[in-house]
Every structure is written in C-alpha cells, then in structure tokens.
C-alpha cells in the first residue's frame, strides 16, 4: 500500500515534469505541431504571410496555409465541415458565408468559449459581420431564437470602393459624375476606356453590380425575405449598368474578372472602375507591373439618383471550425494576428488592415493612399450581402442573369424578371415561406 502511493507520487511528478516543458504559458494546452489554416489564394493573404514568421518565432507553433481559389474555398469549407473532419484549425471566410456557417453551428463561438472582449479601435460593422444571428436586418426563419455569439473576427478589412485617374478626371461623387468623366476621356481609337466593368458570371459581376443596384434604391429582399427585386429601380440600375456604363467599357467585359480589370487600369487603358484593396498593392500601385503608379485617386462608391452611396463590404474573417483539435491555440493566433501591436507590420507587409488607428493614420495614408477611402466606406457603414445561408444560390442566379444582360443575351427587363422569379422559387424551396 505504501509503496503503491510512493509509486503514484513518482509517476505524477514524472508527468508534471514531462508536461511542464510543453506548456508555453498559463492556462494554455501543449503546443500542437502545427495549425492548419484554409485561406483564399491571392493577394488577400499577403499581410498574413508577412507576419507569420514573427508568430512562428515568438510562439514556436507553425501555421500551415492551404490556399484555395476563391470560387472553390466556400465549397471546400462546407464539405470539410460536413465531413466533420479535423482538417482545419483556422480558416478565413468571406463575410457572406457567415450565415451558412452560423446557422449550421460549424464554428466555435469566440465570446462564450474564450471570453473575447470587443475593441473600440475596430469598426462596429466588423463585429456585426462576425455575429450570428445577425444583429440587424431580417433573420432567416428558425434562427432568431438562437443566442447571439461572435464567431469570427475580421483579418482582411476588404470593402469595395472606387478608383479614378486623378490626372485625367476629377473625383466622382455620383453616377452622373462617373458618366461625365467617362464621356470626357473615352476614346475607342486609342483605345482608352471611360469605365472598366468586372462582368464575369456569378460572384464577380454581382460584386460589381450590387453597389449600383443598391445606390439606385433597389433591394433584393424585403424584411420577410419576400423577393422585391422586380422593381423599376432595379431595372433602371441594370439598364444603366449594361447600357450606359458598358458603352464606355472595353469590349469583352462580360468575361472580365478582377484580374482583367486591374490589368486594364494598370496598363493605362481605362480611367475608372470599382476596386478592392488587394488589387491596389498587388497591381495598380505596384511599380513592377503598373504604368499608373501615383496617378490614381480613391473615393467612396458613387451615389445613385437618390444620393445613396452603397459601398459593398467583403471582409475576410478569421474563425475556428468546431472540428479543430487545437482550438485554444487557434484562438491565441486570432488574438495575436488581429492585435493592435501587429496591425502596422501587417499593413506594411501588404495586408489590408481593419483598425481605425491604422486606416486613419496620416503617415500610413502617405504610403497607402486608399486607406482613407477604405475607412470612409467601412464607416458608411458598408452594405452587406443579405444575411441568409441561401445567398450563394441567390448570387449564382442573379449573377447568371446580370451577366447575360451584360453580354446582350437578355434585356435588363427580362434578366430582372427571370432572376426574381428563380430567386423566389429557390427561397420557397429552402423553406423561407410557402
């Protein structure tokens, strides 16, 4: 009996000694070999890649990035969650995906699990994006009874705004200004185009068209998820988009994605267009590929006939899937990567920041002339895509018809009517109403 106890004590001591070497700080579980993180392929992760070595040096935990092209990342995450695999410890998600992830309860709540505290330096819209159920606007059926939690925090403060050649035209405030600018500089013999459209089917054309649609005062859903897209405002917006704007755009824009748009601007062939921040540091302000460095101005998305600006938000959010076996360390990483301390190195390394202090910093705005436009757009506050897990289907349906209208296959009237009908059909199928 006595020797038994002594043995037990030695054993416990041994365990303590063995484990204590693996414990990094108070309350933290042993270090995992690595954290696996699903990210989107492209410039959005530039800043992340810039600060990762610092994390690995400070913490001694490797972070492995698995990159997916934008169109497949969502599918990949959903299938991984459905398989309930421990494949990923961390992920970055485009904010329109939050409703799906939130309503399926696939993510670890950051507030109730780890006690996350909100930070005044971060725009309120960021917390709205990462919360489920959504704190404003219509809530999908069956979701409003759930307790609201914060599931994700922005890493990439993406928001869509407007760029123009400040050496050729003045900053547009309304769509009328945009058209006047375009008329002034458009010259198809050179060729030089007044406006370049990112018109490829699906998500690309919807990112481009949504700020136009909303600025014209149209909406896709009412507060009960009934489809109210089929309106004069929507048809006017689509007519403006596919007729007026297109007449100043390069031919072939119906197949342009962001890459082609940035190329037209960077090679000095177009004067105006929407832009997402990642394209700026990567391409249009990148001296090794761009011929227009320093010639571009950035401003809020143009206002429609009613004076409404509708910049579109598209933040990339950091979150932890429930399948992860290293949730605590994943949370440590989120805290570290989004901290005020790391925000400047992150931005200097080419990352898209999201903290007020950095976006409004005068010094930073000299290096990154678009930070002010970003801050304005985020504070507007930027419009978000409707908070429903069916958004993907809605985007695919609308994206097909808007693209068809842009390619001249359907008239604006036809495209809106068909899209509205199909969206309603889909929402019915999804159980939003009978």
């Amino acid at each position: 009996m006595k020797t038994g106890r002594a043995k037990l004590a030695v054993l416990m001591l041994g365990i303590l000694i063995l484990t204590s070497t693996a414990i990094a700080g108070p309350g933290l579980p042993p270090k995992p070999a690595k954290l696996t993180m699903a990210v989107v392929a492209g410039g959005e992760t530039k800043g992340l890649k810039a600060i990762l070595p610092t994390w690995e040096r400070e913490m001694g935990v490797k972070v492995e990035l698995v990159e997916f092209p934008y169109p497949t990342l969502y599918e990949k995450l959903v299938t991984a969650f459905q398989a309930n695999a421990s494949t990923f410890d961390l992920l970055i998600a485009d904010d329109p995906w939050m409703p799906k992830f939130g309503s399926e309860s696939w993510l670890v709540p950051l507030d109730s699990t780890f006690g996350y505290k909100r930070d005044n330096d971060i725009f309120p819209v960021v917390y709205d994006l990462g919360s489920w159920p959504p704190p404003r606007g219509p809530v999908p059926p069956g979701e409003s009874s759930k307790a609201r939690h914060l599931y994700a925090i922005t890493l990439v403060g993406n928001v869509e705004f407007f760029m123009y050649r400040k050496d050729l035209v003045s900053a547009p405030n309304t769509w009328d200004d945009v058209v006047a600018n375009a008329k002034k500089v458009n010259d198809s013999s050179k060729p030089f185009y007044g406006f370049v459209i990112r018109g490829a089917k699906g998500n690309p054309v919807i990112s481009e068209f949504t700020p136009v649609l909303l600025s014209f005062g149209a909406r896709i859903f009412d507060n009960n998820w009934r489809v109210i897209l089929n309106s004069k405002a929507a048809i006017d917006a689509l007519t403006f988009f596919t007729k007026t704007l297109k007449s100043y755009a390069p031919p072939g824009v119906a197949n342009y994605d962001a890459a082609e748009r940035a190329r037209e601007i960077a090679t000095g062939r177009a004067a105006q267009g929407f832009i997402w921040p990642a394209e700026i540091t990567d391409i249009v302000e990148n001296p090794s590929v761009s011929q227009v460095v320093g010639k571009l101005g950035y401003t809020l998305a143009p206002a429609g006939p009613g004076g409404k600006h509708a910049p579109l938000i598209g933040n990339w959010l950091l979150a932890i899937p429930k399948g992860s076996k290293n949730q605590r360390w994943a949370y440590e990483f989120i805290l570290w990567a989004t901290s005020a301390k790391m925000q400047k190195p992150y931005a200097m390394g080419g990352g898209i920041p999201f903290r007020k202090s950095v976006l409004l910093d005068a010094q930073m705005n000299k290096t990154f002339p678009f930070f002010k436009a970003m801050a304005d757009s985020l504070a507007a506050p930027a419009e978000w895509r409707p908070r429903t897990s069916e958004w993907f289907a809605v985007e695919a349906i609308l994206g097909t018809h808007v693209n068809a209208a842009l390619a001249g296959v359907e008239t604006p009237d036809e495209a809106i009517t068909k899209a509205a009908r199909e969206i309603e059909q889909h929402m019915k199928e999804a159980g939003y109403y009978r």
């Binding site: 169109p71 072939g252 197949n255 993907f392 097909t400 199928e429």
Partner: protein, 287 residues
Amino acid sequence: MRHWTPYLLVAPPVVVLASLVIYPLLYNVSLSLRNYRTGEFVGLHNFARALDDPQFFASLRATAVYVSGTLVIEVLLGLALALLVHRTIRSGWARTLVYLLFLIPMVTPPIAAGVIARLIYTPTYGVLNVLLERVGLIRTDILWLSEPLTAMFAVISVDVWQWMPFVFLVCFAGLQAVPIDTAEAARVDGADGWRLFRHIEYPYLRSLLLLVMVFRFTDTFRVFDHVQVLTGGGPGATTEFLSLYLYLIAFKFFNLSYAAALSLFVLFVTSVAFSVLSRYLGREVSE
C-alpha cells in the same frame, strides 16, 4: 480444378463493385424523394420541379448543342482524315508520326487542355487574336469567351482538339481490315472515291463508328473539367452544361435532393446510350 473456381475468383470484385454502384443509386433515390433541408418526404416533388426549371432546360439545350456539335465534327473530321491518310500515306514512319501526334492530346489532362485554351482565347492575353491581327484577318479583338456563339465554339474546339484523334485512330484501324485486293479491284472497275467508301470501306467501319459514337456521346454528355476552367458556364448560362448545372446545385446551393433527382435523369440518359452499345457488344463478346 473445380467448376466453381471461376465464380470464386470473380465474386469478391463483383460484390464490391456492385455495392459501390447499388449504394449510390439507392442513396440518390432516397435523397431525391426528400426535402434537402428538413429531410421530410416530398414524393416526386424534386422531379416535378425539374419540369418547371428554366435553368434546367437551358442547360439541356446547351448540352444538346455541345453534344451534337462535337459528335458531328469529330466523326466527320476523324473519318475524313482516316480515309485521306489510309488512301494516300503509305510510308510506315509517316503513319507512326501521325499516331504519336494524335496520341498526345488524348492523354493531356482536360484540366491542362482548359488551361491551354484559356491562354489562347482569353480576352487580354489570348494569342489567337494576336495571330489573327498579325495576318490581317481581323482588325479588332474577337471576344471569344464573352459571346454565346464564340464561347460555345471555344469549348467545342477543345473537345474536338482532344478527341477527334480518337475517332481518327479507330476508323483508321478499321480501314486496315479492308482487303487491299478488293479495294484495288473496285478501283480498276472505275469506282470513284465515294463508291469505294460506300460499298467497300463503310461495311468495315459501321460497327466501329457506332462504338465511337456511343463513347463520345456519353463523354460529351458529362463534360465538366475543361469548361469549368475555360468559361465556367458563361456568358450567362450559355455554356452551363448539365453536369455544370448539377454541380452548381449540389456544391454551391447544397440542394442535394434536387441534385440527386437530376443525377438520376443523367443516369437514365447514359443508360439508354449504353443499351444501344451493349446490344452490339453482345454479339462481339459471344464470338
């Protein structure tokens, strides 16, 4: 040797294979009869929905254009080329070169073929427009992937590029079975090229052509990889073929029930095509 040895050998793989076919089938049937979110039984609703789905019919139409376009072009070109080479090129090494040339596209992964096609047709970097402008055929860029007609042409061209050689190789092989004496005799009798084909060569090719057409039909009917890379279904939904639409429903909308219903339809069409083939194969195998 016992008489049941062959059955014992065959049994394990057959049981595994059969379960890998039967389970998916039952799974799809069960899915197709339910609502994808609630799981409640909805009868034939998902099938009825297809009848009221304009996108489904649009994808069917696009698929029909694609399948008939590739089939006609590949068979005509492949057959004509086989006849031309068979009747004129006698040298062994020249034939060897033709074989090798034509085997290359067939083993190229469709994804890589899609990448190549993108590099050729893409609006800003595409080499096709550059070449056409250089030789003076066009003045302004042709927007290959943004216009419904040219986009369809582009996706069909990739398929033809990859698989016309298959038709050629099979037809050419079939022609080697034609006795040279018979062909020579017909020629001496004054038969022209067409008659030679119709009465001497065609009988040897008939069954092979059927085989080739069933293969190409079922493969083009389920085309996916290179279209995904090249047009992604656009512009609009003009190249959104059945398999792309099905993929969209299953893995973007995650409406697995409707996807299951549509996939049973795809299976039905494929089975009909196969039954044509199997009737012919029944004779061959029994030799």
